[in-house]
Symmetry: C2
Subunit: 351 residues, 2 copies
DNA sequence: TTGTAGGCGTTATCAT
DNA sequence: ATGATAACGCCTACAA
């Protein structure tokens, strides 16, 4: 590991001069000296120590991204958005999974602070009753005092800028779409208990139902994962079937889809199913959903984190647009019984 | 940002003493002093600077993971495996996407070295003819000289320990399974040109075909992504249909599945489809595949990177086992025509 | 234009 | 048991 000292010795110049040419300083250096330094640096394949540099500048070109679970395509898409922009600017991405634990988040925040990270992005939603929220806020404040920018990508009740999309409206929109297909008896499969995102989406569902004078109380416990949807499907299939089901997210929607079909229920023939987010798997199975600007969330957050303060960068909160994406797991309502066979035939033909 | 100097002043002790109690040194410190230091540290919520520490210790508790694309569930699963174990030990994960560019990999390696990372894990496969391979190897050597452990999770022609699974055998096994179903005219959809992983899998396919006295030459260009599979499906559907198709990975397999069905081809009634990897989406759509030990790859690699050298840790290369996972996109071969309707009926019933 | 030297926060060596 | 103090590698006034 060559250091500036090595270079300066090799080139026969002072460390200061070596430093100046090797870090794009604006301080003038004669062409001759410059060349000698450059040559010496090339010879030993010099690479500056980020840690030494960080120690003096009080800042590391690191952006931390705290997600729930990187295997969840929701977070993966966000992480990629972040990396796309910070990587291009020479920053590195520190990725941490917090598994929805505020305690772990605080720990990661602490570590990021210890590294003098340039910024940190919270990708997960928060809980309505979070006993550790204040503690998190304190940790966040300290982080900011240490010079890092912090931004959240979901509702958190935290004093920090956010970039989000409207979960409530997204849920409202899919629900409204399903209603427009003629369905009346529509169920909602909930997300994890107490999470803002779950609540907002449920809220959107209920609002759309009420706006159409329909009963918004048909709800099932769920989660954010495929398995939750699959299990719920079996429970649903065992009772009186709804005409359509809106799931809190795509994974649950897909779980419902598969569970229902495995239980012998035709989707969308007998029951329509829709999700929210439009992660890749949703495309794969043709799930009707609403496209959330996941990648853009990451890009935008990264932009905020790296923006020069004088940049006139948009401050406060940013809300990105979503878009309804109808696919083939939802269908127009038909009269029961009679339509049943016809639907089956059409479904077959469509393949 | 409180520093040791602050603490020492507050507690009325030397910086050395403060340091000793605050970093679990074995150096003896009297109970009284210890308490004073602890109190002072608590008052100001002291957190040691990782960068200062790194400067003197020449090492950062960071492990870098260089993947192709974090949105690809293949890599996401590996990244999670890594994070699960390094996180538990107090290390942080630096994630970088290299998009199959050796040049980007070299850049990331350089950065990781500048950070004095403890280890770096290469998750992507290499190319058969990589003009930059030597350059990468040099960079890798330097990284290792700097004290970092390096491990690769795929064939790379690099002088460094690897932990992998047997791509060739995996492809052989699915192919063999498909053959056992009675299929004869079986196609293979290739991965990206020149990638070791692509080649090994194709090799396994061909070997299995030849072992069964079947023609191994029915191949289609593909890639590693859903879209490639989908497009290929349309081309395949336009010609004489094979009885079965083995895809280089799950995403392509799913693309084939959807493309075929959209083109009116019944899967598995008319054509069977299988993939490799068993990423989550494969489970979602019921794709027949072989389960690759992705998560374990990450876990094992992380273990190697964090292992004490004296640990008697397994050196050299490690090959983890895979497992055939039949699902519902493959079916036994029937006599054509006559069986057609019957198959359709059964397919419906099975749901 | 070049060089000297102080300091960033820790750890570790060497006295005391 | 405690405390100075010299690194670690780099940047940056300040001096020359």
């Amino acid at each position: 590991m060559a250091s500036l000292a090595d270079i300066s010795a090799r080139a026969g110049v002072s460390i200061a001069t070596a430093s100046r040419v090797l870090n794009g300083s604006s301080h003038p250096v004669s062409a001759a000296m410059r060349q000698r330094v450059l040559d010496a640096a090339a010879e030993v394949d010099y690479a500056p120590s980020f840690v030494a540099r960080a120690l003096v500048k009080g800042r590391t070109p690191i952006v931390g991204v705290i997600v729930g679970d990187i295997v969840d395509p929701y977070f993966a898409e966000i992480a990629r958005g972040v990396e796309d922009v910070v990587g291009r600017k020479g920053y590195l991405t520190m990725l941490s999974s917090a598994h929805r634990s505020t305690e772990l988040e605080i720990g990661h925040l602490r570590a990021l602070r210890a590294y003098q990270a340039t910024g940190v992005i919270f990708a997960s939603s928060g809980f309505l009753h979070d006993t550790r929220r204040e503690e998190l806020q304190r940790s966040l404040d300290e982080t900011r005092e240490a010079g890092a920018k912090v931004v959240a990508l979901a509702h958190r009740e935290l004093d920090c800028p956010t970039v989000t999309f409207d979960n409530r409206a997204a849920a409202y929109d899919v629900t409204d779409y399903v209603i427009s297909l003629g369905h009346r008896r529509i169920a909602f499969v909930d997300g994890p208990e107490g999470l803002y995102t779950s609540l907002e989406r449920r809220d959107g569902f209920e609002a759309a139902m009420r706006a159409a004078d329909l009963d918004p109380t048909l709800r099932f416990e769920g989660g954010f994962e495929y398995e939750a949807g699959y299990e719920t499907a079996r429970r649903i299939a065992a009772g009186r079937l709804p005409e359509a089901i809106v799931a809190v997210n795509d994974d649950v929607g897909i779980g419902l889809l598969m569970g229902l079909r495995d239980a012998g229920v035709d989707v969308p023939g007998t029951v329509s199913v829709a999700g929210i987010d439009d992660t890749r798997p949703a495309r794969y199975v043709g799930l009707t959903t609403v496209s959330a600007p996941l990648h853009e969330l990451g890009i935008t957050a990264a932009g905020l984190v790296l923006a020069d303060d004088e940049d006139g960068a948009p401050t406060g909160d940013i809300v990105l647009p979503h878009r309804l994406t109808p696919r083939s797991t939802t269908a127009r309502r038909r009269a029961r019984a009679a339509g049943q066979r016809r639907r089956a035939a059409r479904a077959r033909a469509r393949r």
